[in-house]
């Protein structure tokens, strides 16, 4: 696959900040899929992908997924305050949403912060990169293995 193109640049390790698109584009990626066993709430499978064997400790992976799941559970939980927020928005003919931030958006901020922190502390030093699931439409958690080029499928 795309054999003619250059291999990914390995210099991403030292950098802080997200790797450039060009760097993540051509490396091998692992995708953690959604877990629908509890309905359509956002929850990711805690199943350790075999591709990450030897690159990442199982406990670290499970911790990341568990934390992310906890953030999304908090965002989607029907508490009194979220119901009040919804009712208020309805009573103001949804004009409230123009100026106020929703509970969900606040939780997504936390997720973004958590992902960034995890990248800096755990994933980057191991040559991995965790993509914020919101950027992938909450379908998958994408973990790029930066120093491993894509496997040719011939």
């Amino acid at each position: 696959m795309k054999a003619g193109k250059t291999l990914p640049n390995n210099s991403a390790h030292g950098d802080m900040g997200p790797p450039r698109v060009a760097q993540t584009q051509l490396c091998m990626k692992v995708f953690v899929q959604r877990d629908y066993s509890d309905g359509t709430t956002v929850k990711f499978q805690n199943f350790f992908p075999p591709e990450l064997e030897g690159k990442l400790e199982r406990a670290l992976f499970e911790n990341t997924i568990g934390q992310l799941n906890a953030y999304f559970r908090e965002a989607e939980k029907g508490t009194c305050s979220t119901y009040c927020e919804g009712c208020m928005a309805c009573l103001t003919a949804y004009l409230m949403y123009i100026c106020a931030q929703t509970h969900y958006e606040k939780c997504l901020r936390k997720v973004a912060k958590f992902v960034q922190e995890q990248n800096e502390r755990v994933y980057k030093p191991k040559g991995l990169y965790l993509t914020n699931p919101v950027e992938r439409g909450l379908r998958v958690i994408e973990i790029s293995i930066l120093d491993q080029p894509v496997v040719s499928r011939t």
């Binding site: 959604r34 965002a75 979220t82 119901y83 003919a93 949804y94 379908r139 994408e142």
Partner: protein
């Protein structure tokens, strides 16, 4: 099939010509925000703040009806009623009107819960997983499964693979064929509000319907009261009508719309209390079939919590980052690709035969002009059936290898183009995603025309039609994916 090329020539007229293309390229270089690259067919306004379905004419009819009727009511009935009964009437009317318009505009202009399409890597990962491992050795080729069974709270649910979005659709999601997106908790595509109704805007839609029902009743009552009070002033009924013709118009409009609006409000109240979508209700997803007990696994137990959660629960975020900036790397690569595409388009213009396969009528030059619209509507299911029949052999993005390795498999393909195209394209080593999309849009365009004339099917997104659209997409994609697999 040598002569086929001459038959296909008119098709290439539909392709973007050089002039169009240079325009397209000029647009490409100015891309700054992500909505400009959005792969669906939605319309965007105000630099991506507003998104709507591709066809919005009926939406303007809705707005016109509501605004027109209300202004007549406020201009002619309200002054009279405020003096004769109570000044609260115009106030209540105004509040209701603001609420109706606000929820209508929210429904129409917001993202219904579109699931962004898979990135190429993600799609490749999924397709690698659904590939049947030992299909190369087995004598009879079996297409890989396109559904995945999962269990949700003890209820088995089938997830379908969406060929357009390259994802396994989440439970309750469905692909809207008009907007060309997968929408989460898809309810239906509503032409009246000019948008899909899905997870993110269902609450607005519901409040719109309910408040519109109240507004209708309120205005009807006001207009009728006006006429009755006029008639009471010892004039004949006919005179009263003559004095206030606007009230009669308002009363008539409200009288005819109130029944359907109230019916719809009632129906959606039932759906909300049982936590179902219109799509699921029509398909009977949770009705017991073949003796198997079936229940709604998404219901939260009781009517109250269902309503609370759907109407006031946490509001999910939009997953398509419409207003996000396109990173410079992406549009640089896009600009590069677009020049390559131009070569490829002119190169591949003659053997562009997906259309005949779509319609199952290879010899008919242009069915959409040859047939009157009613015949078209009738014949579309058969054509669709044909397209579906072609599916197992025509679509195989994931199982490209077997079909090339064993020659009998190629013979199974209904047309030669799948076999021919890869050899054409194998020379050109490109990233073909853009081309794929372009071809897919073209090949499906005729079927879409058929669908657009038969609103009902597309509005409800019935499975057969949706499958057929996607099968066409992959029909053309299958051929294009091959060179990618063989560098």
């Amino acid at each position: 099939m040598v002569s086929a090329d001459t038959v296909y020539l008119p098709v290439s007229v539909d392709l973007p010509q050089e002039a169009n293309h240079s325009h397209e390229k000029a647009k490409m270089t100015n891309v700054t925000r992500k909505w400009e690259l959005f792969p669906g067919r939605n319309k965007f306004c105000c630099d991506g703040r507003i998104m709507m379905a591709p066809q919005t004419s009926v939406f303007f009819v809705t707005v016109g009806l509501i605004v027109g009727t209300c202004s007549l009511f406020f201009a002619f009935d309200c002054p009279f009623l405020a003096v004769r009964i109570t000044p609260a009437i115009p106030v209540v009317g105004a509040v209701l009107f603001v609420f109706v318009m606000s929820s209508l505009l929210r429904t129409s202009f917001s993202d219904p819960g579109i699931i962004p399409r898979a990135t190429p890597d993600e799609a490749a990962y999924i397709e690698k997983q659904i590939e049947v491992p030992n299909s190369t050795n087995s004598p009879t080729y079996r297409p890989p499964p396109r559904t995945k069974e999962i269990t949700i709270r003890g209820q088995t649910v089938k997830l379908k693979y969406c060929f357009t979005c390259k994802i396994f659709r989440p439970p309750r999601a469905s692909h809207c064929s008009l907007c060309d997106n997968c929408v989460e908790r898809f309810d239906h595509h509503c032409p009246w509000v000019g948008n899909c109704v899905g997870k993110r805007n269902y609450r607005y839609f519901y409040m719109f319907i309910v408040s519109l029902a109240f507004l209708c009743v309120f205005i009807l009552a006001g207009a009728v009261t006006h006429i009755i009070l006029l008639a009471k002033e010892d004039r004949p009924y006919f005179e009263a009508v003559k004095e206030s013709p606007a009230s009669v118009i308002v009363a008539l409009v409200c009288f005819f719309s109130v029944w359907s609006v109230m019916g719809l409000a009632g129906f959606h109240t039932y759906l909300t209390t049982s936590n179902q979508t219109t799509n699921e209700d029509i398909k009977g997803s949770f009705s017991s079939k073949r003796g198997q007990a079936s229940y709604n696994p998404y219901s939260r137990g009781n009517i109250c919590s269902n309503c609370c959660h759907i109407l006031c629960g946490p509001s999910p975020p939009s997953l398509i980052d419409r207003r996000g900036m396109v990173p410079p790397e992406v549009w640089e690569s896009l600009a590069k690709e677009s020049t390559v595409i131009s070569n490829n388009r002119t190169y591949g213009a003659v053997p562009h035969p997906p259309q005949p396969q779509v319609n199952g009528l290879p010899n008919q030059p242009d069915p959409k002009q040859a047939m009157p619209s009613d015949i078209r509507c009738q014949s579309s299911p058969q054509q669709v059936a044909g397209a579906v029949l072609c599916q197992p052999s025509a679509q195989e993005p994931g199982c490209v290898r077997p079909s090339v390795e064993s020659p009998q498999e190629i013979l199974l393909t209904p047309t030669d183009f799948i076999k021919n195209r890869p050899s054409d394209l194998r020379d050109a080593e490109l990233d073909l995603d853009e081309v794929t999309n372009a071809v897919a849009n073209l090949s499906a365009s005729r079927l879409r025309l058929l669908q657009d004339t038969t609103m009902i099917e597309s509005a409800l997104d019935l499975d057969s039609l949706e499958e057929s659209v996607s099968s066409i997409d992959t029909g053309s994609q299958a051929g294009l994916l091959k060179p990618k697999e063989f560098p």
